[in-house]
Subunit: 218 residues, 6 copies
């Protein structure tokens, strides 16, 4: 049997990890790879700044080095922290959820929009997408202006997602990426409400990870 896909929540908020776990429940299939969600206990409570993003890199590298049993890794923070470093030490594929979320959205529509949690992340995302070479396909990015924790729990989150989604549609977006690891619960309702594909980036990354495992049957 293949090893697990190890999905790492780089912040130390166990509620976020639990949410990931629930969001991936339907991706656990008999005969398919196990999917294990782990919390980076050294991480900050939320990755909300550039320094937060950088401080989790070495702990992520160590975790990747320790989990020699993994068949693939998913770094479940939308900044894709440590993606280059983890790839440089891992013998198995490492997926970042921003990268996977954006690429998956590009398979569903020509121009896509990004829903950020906080405006402060937009520049980080923009630099990353320019580095990815896909900016001609990005219609825009708008922020909910909530904390990660609040967006995961808050009752006003869905209404705000609708507003931001409509703004992105006005910008030309034909599909959306939820720019955060903790909004999967809103994916299907928002897709239904807006009438365009909505991508949860962790599901996108796990789907790609499953693909690499299934392409290598034992």
């Amino acid at each position: 049997m293949s090893g697990p896909i190890v999905v790492i929540n780089p912040n130390s908020n166990q509620a976020v990890t639990d949410g990931l776990d629930r969001a991936l429940e339907s991706f656990r299939l008999q005969g398919g790879p196990p999917i294990e969600c782990v919390t980076l206990t050294e991480g900050p409570f939320g990755v909300e700044s550039q320094v937060h993003s950088d401080q989790v890199v070495l702990p992520l590298v160590r975790l990747v080095e320790q989990r020699a049993d993994a068949s693939a890794f998913v770094i479940a923070c939308y900044s894709d922290p440590g993606i280059d470093a983890c790839r440089s030490v891992s013998p198995v594929p490492v997926f970042g959820i921003q990268e996977s979320g954006v690429l998956t959205a590009l398979s569903r529509a020509d121009r896509i929009g990004i829903v950020a949690i906080a405006a402060a992340s937009e520049k980080r995302h923009r630099l990353y997408m320019r580095r990815m070479g896909v900016t001609s396909r990005i219609a825009g990015e708008h922020a909910l202006n909530m904390s990660v924790d609040e967006s995961a729990r808050g009752t006003g989150t869905f209404a705000r997602l609708q507003e931001v989604g409509q703004a992105l549609i006005s910008d030309g977006a034909e599909a959306l990426v939820l720019g955060c690891a903790g909004m999967a619960v809103h994916r299907a309702p928002l897709e239904k409400d807006l009438g365009i594909p909505v991508i949860d980036p962790t599901q996108a990354a796990v789907s790609m990870a499953i693909g690499t495992v299934l392409a290598n049957p034992l």
Copy 2:
């Protein structure tokens, strides 16, 4: 239970459809979506020219319209014939294997190389990748210079794949896409031989299709 992922071989060569079927065997998981490979009987024996690519569009559209039970479609010809038309009539996601193969490779490496079957396809692929807006990530494309049928069967195919793969690595490729629906059998051995990820585009598209199905649990 969700409907099947319908993988359409747009040419009428049943051997190619059978090969797709075998290549996707490991993607059929209990609890996951059924994967059904069908032959477009109106298609030419191989899609090897621009006219071939265009002549399958309307038959593909009709097939998509008939299969209201599908949960997703995959057009399993590397030219992604009819992708725009099929999407315009389908209520469920439609994946082209070129698009999915390229996007999936971009999740595995910065610069990727494409292995074409015939040199005549390279221009068609180039135009499509420019339309996708991803050309800054393409290291190069080289052709095996074989027919689709020959590449699927021929004993010299693997040696030629090694040669072309090495040429693409010299161009800077850090991952490869097999630019044809019928070379999945060579994927794993070639990946092992070259030491870089090799993507079978039909597996990539089916993996993305599975992802859209699993993200919508019943």
Copy 3:
């Protein structure tokens, strides 16, 4: 004497063909190539969807193959349907009016705007212009939101063209392309009204076709 430039109206609306004929009257010069406008009788009444655009490809290919006397072809539908297929079978140059219209506008101004008939075409045009690699020169595209037939005949068309033209000028457009085969009658008045070059794409394509004929004197 050189053979005719065959201008093909891919829809079966003879009124559109007649309009093309009139719009090209001044391009028929003594000693220059004859210009013949023909209707693709197999075409739909208007090419207004992706499927319409795809369904005319094979009939266009057959027409091109039959007209061995042509010195050049012009496909007079702004989606440039069948351009790749027709080129692959034609021994003489084949011009698409979108491609020719855009390139000609680029010879008149730095940033150009496109007047679409229907909003549904904008995505098709955008994908085509990205494939052309000229998007850095496109200021925007706006739709009249009329049917092809209506735009060719309707009395409100000019007022709507003025509105859309002004919107494109606000976007930065310094020249316009009329994104349809049937609006040539409005070209000169609109150019006068807006004060910037306005390109009729069929005239642009025919002008390029004449250029290839004259560069090969008998």
Copy 4:
């Protein structure tokens, strides 16, 4: 009757002007605009350096201002000297032969190659094409390494054009632009020899100029 298309040779070499005149003979049609080739007597004998290119700008502007009878201007030097300044003072369209040659070649093939006269011009051309925003379509540029005068007269020119043309085809060029005002005599033979379209840029610019005149019938 419309005024003449004034084709300006910005160098003072009358033999170049005479060559332009002959190259455009077939573009003079009854009922079409007259085509008049004039020599910029203040110009250098050949425009072979950046300073040469800059020193003709003001004389070009004066000539454009004097020829109020023109229906269009063509600046027949492949550096398109003074194109911005001439456009800023002219009430009628001004075409540069580099711009027109490149755009016309883009209507004939996806990737194009440029044949420069001297290697020293390649950088000037590259900057101009980047400013045009079309570099994704340029396969390469190679120089004949001859003087303008020599290339126009020399018996070895054609053999050198074949060599350089083959090199550009190896680079991926599917059509060529002759990067000089004085090589029209070689256009048709070279096109026949290489089997791909070869564009004479002065003919391309004059063809576009004719198009603007014919689109405004008196």
Copy 5:
């Protein structure tokens, strides 16, 4: 001792040269290169049109050729007139203030905004920045709509700079370039007022020039 950095004001308005001189006072350090500001007496009173920009090229070339003592040149007009020609004749580095201003701003922020004096210059600047290949980093450009002379003297200039600066920040600018040689006096106050870096392009060019001199100690 190294020769002077010769800063050339291409217009004949001595007040502008004097302003440059004051703006560069703090860049004159003991042991560093002398900085000499000179007026191009052949220049127009202000460089405000394309023809103005072109007419100063040859006088600039002559001035560069005469000043064999210079260790570097700075062309202090935001159109960078004559930059290619001056470089082609100068044995020492030649800096244009637009190029230097933009590159320096790119070292301070991801996306930058340009403050033009007059709307008529925006197109010239846009073409230049596209030629530079940096347009993906440009948030926007807005004009003060003042004459060069007025902007250098007028009391309302600062208020207008604040307005335009705020508009550029709304466009996404994270740093600004003052698109004129004569606004250095407003740099520090505007930077303080807006809270983002503001670059005076002449100071940027002189700083780069100093760098080339200091990297070659005698």
Copy 6:
């Protein structure tokens, strides 16, 4: 008096810091800002891998936070490690030497080449330059294939620099950036030998830092 420009060597090799100190000697001018070179004692002996690059980020952030007296910072490692994090905490400008080196080279030539120390760094540099949006100006990058320490000391370094420089010139480079903090001693001789500008990136960054200090006279 303004505070010092603090140049941080992120590796713990004091010989590299000493080399930086000597390379910047001529940039210390009376009346100008002091330039202080410091060693990041927590850093690895050389920054030669992605993990090395990431592990210095937090120590760099702490150092930046401690040096409240600095007027600007320069991170003197060609990977620009920690540039985003240091900028996010610093009230004064932070320059990365890759960014500054590349931007400065772009002020000297149209297409530039990068001399890497080790081939393993090329991908990291390429991703960074794509993120910068300047790849259309990059002619190529080649590696010396030496360790940082070896390149700083070794007698064969200059010969290897000549080889690699010539290879980059063949690729079209018109100026070079030395892609390492420790090769300043070779800058002037290499520039003389190759006949094109050679940029030492630390000198470039310090020059830009001096510019920001001098633009704010006390």
